[in-house]
Point group: C2
Chain length 207, copies 2
């Protein structure tokens, strides 16, 4: 499959398709039409057909798409069929909420450790190892980590992300209100709550 040719816009929609197909599979629905997907995801049916053709999904007239097949293909394309190890940097409220975030298991992601400048308040957090951030490099030299989740204050985010990148981590999931970008094969997704809130207020004032 020529993934390299898939545009950013299609990639944006890819998780939406996957999530919807998974729901259908969980509900034992074996076939779905582009029209039904279109309605559920608020995407035009012709766009759905075009997008899914990238992933080897070819719906048959009157029969539709095979949900299980398409779900499995997408899982593989997304790379979530294999497990990924994550660490959380910043054990504040958002960091703690992330540690307990149930969606990780769905995406085959496992949070192994949390790092903070103070660790006392994290002693009651279960299921993860707790470390002082001073031992970050030592930990990363001994443990393979796929994803570093950054949930520290804005002013520390860039420096801490750089430390994990320098130590070999290739994926950054950033919750600090600053856009992080790295070169050299390091990928980054920024969840910027503050920007989302501003867009919401803006749209409300325009409507």
């Amino acid at each position: 499959m020529e993934n390299k040719q898939i545009s950013d816009r299609v990639i944006e929609r890819l998780p939406k398709y996957y999530r919807y197909l998974k729901d259908l599979c969980n509900s034992q629905i074996q076939r779905v039409s582009s029209k039904t997907i279109s309605k559920a995801l608020n995407i035009t049916a012709s766009q759905v057909r075009q997008d899914l053709s990238h992933f080897g999904g070819f719906g048959q007239t009157g029969i539709g798409y095979d949900t299980e097949y398409l779900k499995n293909v997408m899982q593989e394309i997304l790379g979530i069929n294999k497990p990924h190890v994550a660490i959380v940097i910043g054990g504040g409220r958002i960091g703690q909420a992330l540690i307990s975030y149930k969606g990780f298991a769905d995406e085959n992601v496992f949070v192994k450790a949390v790092f903070d400048i103070e660790t006392e308040h994290l002693k009651s957090v279960t299921g993860v190892e707790v470390y002082n951030v001073s031992s970050l490099e030592e930990y990363l030299s001994k443990n393979h980590v796929d994803i570093a989740i950054i949930s520290v204050q804005k002013e520390f985010a860039e420096k801490l992300a750089k430390r994990v990148v320098d130590a070999g981590v290739k994926s950054i999931w950033n919750f600090a209100p600053i856009d992080l970008n790295f070169d050299g094969g390091v990928v980054c997704e920024n969840i910027n709550m503050s920007e989302s809130l501003m867009r919401l207020i803006y749209k409300a004032h325009q409507s």
Copy 2:
């Protein structure tokens, strides 16, 4: 200002400009060039000039843009110069993290109350009123609420959002892993962490 003509792509960037301009103002920097903005925000300089011209920002050669002026204009366009009242529906870990989220004050948003099906675990949460979700409609009939923040499980999100919309709330900020969309002048921003995580893993596998 003809805001209606501003494209979604510009709106996406608007909070980034605002945030950057605010940082500059806080650092007492009075002038900034499109080149500097371009570098900081990873947007081409010509795009910066085009975007800012929508907001009455006209940089002068060799002098650049007036940061304070442009920041104030953007604050007004975004609508965050006026206070907004919010409620949180769902007092789980994400809901609690949101209640204590410091960014709200920056955007002039004030969380007044949290609603859940059980309220016992929220007694220690300070600064907000705590209610059983059964009293949602009664609360909304007596209190003006601009923004409802949905942080419940996927299966309850749509129904609860519909309840607040039916009760007159016009802005939904949704953290449940399902895209919510409403007609009739109701605006919605979906923060979909699960999709972001999938995109991150996908990009890592492609790089």
